[in-house]
């Protein structure tokens, strides 16, 4: 049987803030299987951002173990973590974070640059993913020529282009109006239906209800972990 995508055991994260130690995560154990659609919710300061950074291999835990796709990542070097992020994780950010001077196609192809994929193949794969998210006719538009919803679709395409094991979305609708936000969540539903593993971090219970499982974080601990009937918008 395939290993779980996320397998956290007793993950801790401490920060030094001047004199004091701040414990942002106090032993989080978490398991997410392939194809799950999970929402991580919690108020600001709950530790959900720290957890997301660790799940996304942008940060390393101070204690505990984390296996991503069966691979232990808590002791990897910076360059190794970069390679893991490149191959296994696709990020979707609240502020889209696209390269302002590059076309949609180049933005989507960016992760493939760091994977060492040749240019022709990069462009072909980026085009394919952009078509998949419904932007086949916007390939050569720069971000300032796209609407907010389209920008977030480009960002989703960029997250998917390396065919990652895990898509991590941090408040993906936070900068969008309600209708556009619904469209993006609709896209997430379709990706989930297509077999993608999605972890969505949000403070908004309404959005969290779109997922099939809700994990509540409070004071650096998992407060609740419950399967839920997804409410389709």
């Amino acid at each position: 049987m395939a290993p779980p995508v996320i397998d956290c055991r007793g993950v801790e994260r401490r920060f030094r803030m001047g004199e004091a130690d701040v414990q942002a995560l106090r032993g989080v154990s978490l398991r997410v299987d392939r194809g799950e659609y999970v929402a991580i919710v919690g108020p600001s300061g709950s530790g959900k951002s720290t957890l997301m950074n660790i799940l996304g291999c942008l940060d390393s835990p101070s204690g505990g173990s984390y296996r991503l796709d069966g691979e232990p990542v808590e002791r990897l070097s910076d360059a190794e973590l970069a390679a893991v992020r490149n191959r296994k994780i696709g990020f979707v950010f609240q502020t889209f974070n696209l390269m302002a001077r590059q076309t949609a196609l180049d933005n989507v192809a960016l992760p493939l640059v760091y994977a060492g994929v040749p240019r022709v193949e990069r462009r072909a794969r980026a085009r394919e993913v952009l078509e998949h998210v419904g932007l086949g006719n916007r390939l050569d538009h720069r971000p300032d020529q796209l609407s907010g919803g389209q920008r977030q679709r480009v960002a989703v395409a960029r997250a998917l282009v390396t065919r990652p094991s895990l898509m991590l979305a941090d408040e993906p609708t936070g900068n969008l109006d309600q209708a556009t936000g619904r469209d993006v969540l609709q896209l997430f539903d379709e990706l989930h239906a297509g077999g993608a593993t999605i972890v969505l971090v949000t403070h908004d219970p309404q959005i969290a209800r779109r997922a099939r499982r809700r994990i509540e974080i409070m004071d650096g601990r998992v407060q609740a972990d419950l399967a839920q009937e997804a409410v389709l918008g």
């Binding site: 360059a79 390679a83 490149n86 390269m99 760091y114 060492g116």
Partner: protein, 409 residues
């Protein structure tokens, strides 16, 4: 699972990103590179000028005659060109020249000469010229050809004949189109028969080598009432014998001068060395000035790169999130710094070569010379400036924590 080693990001990708970033801030980028532009342009102009001066000098001194050795009266440690020392205790004489001619086996020619100013006139035209009394070997030693007529013979010299050989300028000024051979001219009031005309020699260091009147050296001694010579010119047998010939001359003359080295022997290389040393010193000074401008340019680039890293903190965070390693970020900003500097270098090179081209048209006598190695130098300098000024900003960019960078507003 073993880590797959990713293929390196091709350099072209970094260059593409760098050009996009530079193009997005055109005005700022051009202002940033101004220091490099000025620095490279001045290096190009100054180095090509120095290069031109050196080859001009080499050309000029080659015109003196190959393997030339000059003996001057009075002992000096300094070498080079200059007026003969006045009031020397013991002047050089034709006897000195004669002994060298007979005994110095490494010399293929020896000629004492005595120069002075004089007025030459023919019919109603007159001209102040340099009158040089020359020995028989003078022509071969100095590599001057008698084009019309014939050189002086040993007999002319022994008999102190009043014969003259004229330079081209003198012929042109006194005779215009008339054939000067066989005519009688006045040199300082005394009649001289024109027996020859030298082939044109051109100018050397601004001195017209054709504005000269040559007469036998013995005749000049009579004319100027002197019993010595200004200097003795000699020609070594082959380039490899120059140093040995100098030793031989020194030895022979010292013995003749009862053990005193009261004369100085210069070679053509000594004379040229003086001038090239001057050119080299000037070159070092101007390069120092130009490098100050390059350093200022480098600091400008470093400054703007630091600003750029700050402005693009979020971009760096995103690149790190999608898989860029520290080394990728480092390389990207280093390449950008080098590209900025190289653009400055190319503009500087264009301005520099433009200045040289214009100056060659406006001042044809200015010996400026563009060569390929100067182009290489310009690129080398600007690449070096780009690397040096990019290291600090690039390291700062690479050291950014991805989480912090993504959170940066």
């Amino acid at each position: 699972m073993a880590e797959r080693v990713p293929r390196p990001v091709p350099l072209f990708e970094y260059v593409r990103v760098a050009i996009e970033a530079i193009a997005a801030n055109k005005g700022r980028s051009v202002l940033t590179t101004l220091g490099v532009i000025i620095g490279v342009a001045s290096v190009v102009v100054l180095v090509s000028l120095g290069d031109g001066v050196r080859s001009y000098l080499a050309e000029q001194f080659a015109g003196l005659g190959a393997n030339l050795i000059i003996v001057q009266p009075g002992h000096t440690e300094t070498s080079g060109f200059g007026p003969p020392l006045q009031n020397v205790q013991r002047p050089l004489t034709l006897g000195d020249a004669e002994i060298l001619k007979q005994r110095a086996t490494l010399l293929s020619g020896v000629a004492g000469d005595l120069a002075g100013g004089g007025t030459v006139s023919y019919t109603n035209r007159a001209r102040d010229v340099m009158v040089i009394g020359v020995g028989e070997d003078f022509w071969s030693v100095r590599d001057i050809h008698v084009e019309l007529g014939h050189p002086f013979t040993a007999d002319d010299e022994a008999a102190r004949r009043r014969y003259a050989i004229l330079g081209h300028t003198v012929v042109h000024e006194l005779f215009a189109d008339e054939n000067p051979l066989g005519k009688t001219i006045q040199v300082s009031g005394a009649p001289f028969l024109v027996v020859g005309v030298t082939a044109p020699k051109g100018r050397m260091l601004g001195f017209d080598l054709d504005d000269l009147v040559f007469v036998p050296v013995t005749t000049t001694q009579d004319l100027f009432n002197r019993d010595f010579v200004t200097e003795i010119l000699a020609k070594a047998r082959g380039r490899e014998n120059v140093d040995a010939a100098v030793a031989q001359i020194t030895d022979l003359l010292r013995r003749r001068h009862v053990g005193h080295v009261d004369f100085t022997v210069h070679t053509q290389q000594d004379l040229m060395g003086t001038f090239t040393r001057i050119a080299d010193t000037m070159g070092v000074v101007v390069l120092a000035i130009a490098s100050i401008s390059l350093i200022v340019g480098g600091i400008g680039i470093m400054n703007i790169m630091l600003v750029s890293v700050k402005e693009r903190t979020r971009e760096i965070g995103v690149r790190r999130a999608v898989g860029a390693r520290k080394s990728d970020v480092l390389a990207q900003f280093l390449v950008e710094s080098v590209v900025v500097s190289l653009i400055g270098g190319i503009i500087g090179l264009a301005i520099g070569s433009g200045v040289i081209t214009v100056s060659q048209i406006a001042l044809p006598s200015l010996p400026a010379k563009m060569s390929l190695w100067i182009v290489a130098l310009a690129f080398g300098f600007s690449a070096a400036v780009g690397i040096l000024s990019g290291v600090l900003p690039a390291r700062r960019a690479a050291a950014l924590d991805p989480v912090e960078a993504l959170r940066y507003e």
